[in-house]
Symmetry: C2
Subunit: 341 residues, 2 copies
């Protein structure tokens, strides 16, 4: 089909040059689409990914960041809604929801790209209560888009959408405790059901979830310190691996690698040999120690001292405060604000 | 945030040039997205829009075209699924489903653009039975995408997605008859409900549906011929307005503007003064006359005589054959195949 000049409509399309024939039809369509799409380019939001296995602490981390950014500034989405099958259909499927084949990964990628370009999406919704896929919801990206879920870093097409990527990496025994507690208390499962599901998911977890750790700019590991017996009720310590894939605030002025200090920064090699900064925050770190680090981070904001430091950070699901969580969240808020500059 | 070269991942992104600072962060993201999106460019399908009011005959026209293209070659979607409100919510809304504000027009545009680029969509679904928005469906574009609905030509962003655009334009009294018959027989409404709904919709129909006629490459009007009394049961005649916005097959060798012939072609001015070819097919046209036109269309296929002419065309909902419908469908099949060349 030859596309002929339309005098009245499609005035954005120039008339065919003399001699232009059928072969121009397809490029013309693409040009039309591009001109239309990019003519009213919205401002692109800053995109943060928080990946990790089920009950790794993604929602706790994300919630504090969204609160610190302030009302109306962040859009939070969970990419575990891109299920290909509902609960009943999954009974006939040989793999778990952790498997990319259980999910519309291509649509997840597409939606992440749209959000990264500042465009709205009609996001699918999986209802955890009924186990059904229900009416989708309209999502419009605000200044910051916080994306949490099982597989946001699985594919390259998804990864390129993010400015900052995080992987939550608790030791498996901690995560099992958290998952048992949550799924029994909040999702109505029996303990043996949760344990059986954990076992069933392990191969897919090893194959698809944990490999995403390598793509994270920041790996966050909440854990008891190895070899130290702590008083019961001491919050977990945290190790934040800060990879040089993005520019982190410089903490070498306020921290040393002396691991007798409750907060310290150590240059190490990651399991794969890559150099990385490891920021340790002990569970028993007093508020004064963590305050030093928080101030050092916040003073390096490009927008200067006008922005007050958020004071709502570090809130655990049980209402307790964790200095380690507060520092992790503040660091991510700093990255988000810097990327917005 | 400064984006630093990532040695392991994001290898498609060149390292920052010396001195590159924060201001490069946003363009980088866009470049990453574009490189990722366009690296595996799928083949773009040919896109046909069939717009028209409720019960204007869109499905009858579309069904025959999809059948003629052959199994697995066409994806048919209805863009009336992009409802913002379900049936219960619409009771509190001051406008009808014909109003763009009742619909996620921006998402419809986005999905049309994605399909036009050969990409899949997760399309929302409105269940006419329950009046609810239900689980969305995955749609992958085949060689041809046939898009029918109330508002596919409403906005410029939607219109640029199409290679061929059609508007179905039956006289209002014919459409009312069709709508009464269908909504009572197939959708379980009472006659007075349908009549009340037609009246309620009229302002939105005038404001949003009928203006789309101006954007169509082909306007199709099935109607009795004015001033002629025909035997009951005679199929409706058709007038196809062929606008010079796309290149139509040349029918001047086989047709004249002699309106005593059952099929004739006349150069006229449209209501807005634009020149247009009007192809008339009378309801009582014998098969021999319509065969001449069909052959003339089909012989102008660029792929030559190897492609057999489809013989399944012209099938009305009641099972009768309409020569006028058959010619309209064949013309559109010709356009689709030519655009694919």
């Amino acid at each position: 089909m030859k596309t002929v000049h339309r005098p009245d409509c499609r005035t954005d399309v120039p008339p065919d040059p003399p001699g232009a024939g059928k072969e121009t039809a397809v490029p013309h369509k693409l040009i039309r689409l591009q001109r239309s799409s990019y003519s009213l380019e919205p401002r692109r939001p800053v995109m943060l990914a928080i990946a990790g296995d089920s009950a790794a602490g993604k929602t706790t981390l994300t919630r504090g960041i969204a609160a610190a950014l302030g009302p109306g500034r962040a859009t939070t989405i969970c990419v575990d809604d891109y299920h290909r099958y509902d609960r009943a259909e999954r009974r006939g499927v040989p793999f778990t929801v952790l498997n990319p084949d259980s999910n519309y990964i291509e649509i997840m990628e597409q939606h992440l790209q749209l959000l990264a370009l500042g465009r709205p999406i009609l996001k699918p919704v999986y209802d955890h209560g009924s186990g059904q896929l229900i009416r989708p919801v309209m999502i419009e990206p605000r200044d910051f888009v916080l994306v949490e879920g099982l597989l946001p870093l699985h594919s390259k097409l998804a990864r390129v959408c993010f400015d900052i990527t995080v992987y939550l990496d608790p030791p498996e025994e901690i995560r099992r405790t958290w998952k048992l507690r949550r799924d029994c208390a909040e999702r109505g499962y029996a303990q043996d059901q949760v344990l059986a599901e954990l076992e069933r998911r392990e191969p897919d977890s090893a194959a698809y979830i944990r490999p995403q750790r390598q793509w994270a700019d920041i790996c966050v590991r909440f854990a008891p310190i190895k070899g130290r017996a702590l008083a019961p009720g001491t919050p977990l310590s945290a190790e934040l691996l800060l990879r040089p894939t993005i520019q982190h605030p410089d903490l070498t002025d306020v921290l040393t690698d002396d691991d007798r200090r409750t907060v310290h920064l150590k240059l190490i090699r990651d399991a794969d040999g890559r150099p990385v900064d490891a920021l340790h925050i002990h569970g028993y770190a007093p508020r004064e120690d963590s305050r030093i680090v928080e101030k050092a981070i916040w003073e390096q904001l490009s927008s200067g001292h006008g922005t007050p430091m958020p004071d709502s950070l570090g809130c655990l699901a049980n209402g307790q405060r964790s200095e380690a969580l507060a520092i992790a969240q503040l660091l991510l808020v700093w990255h988000l604000l810097e990327a917005r500059e």
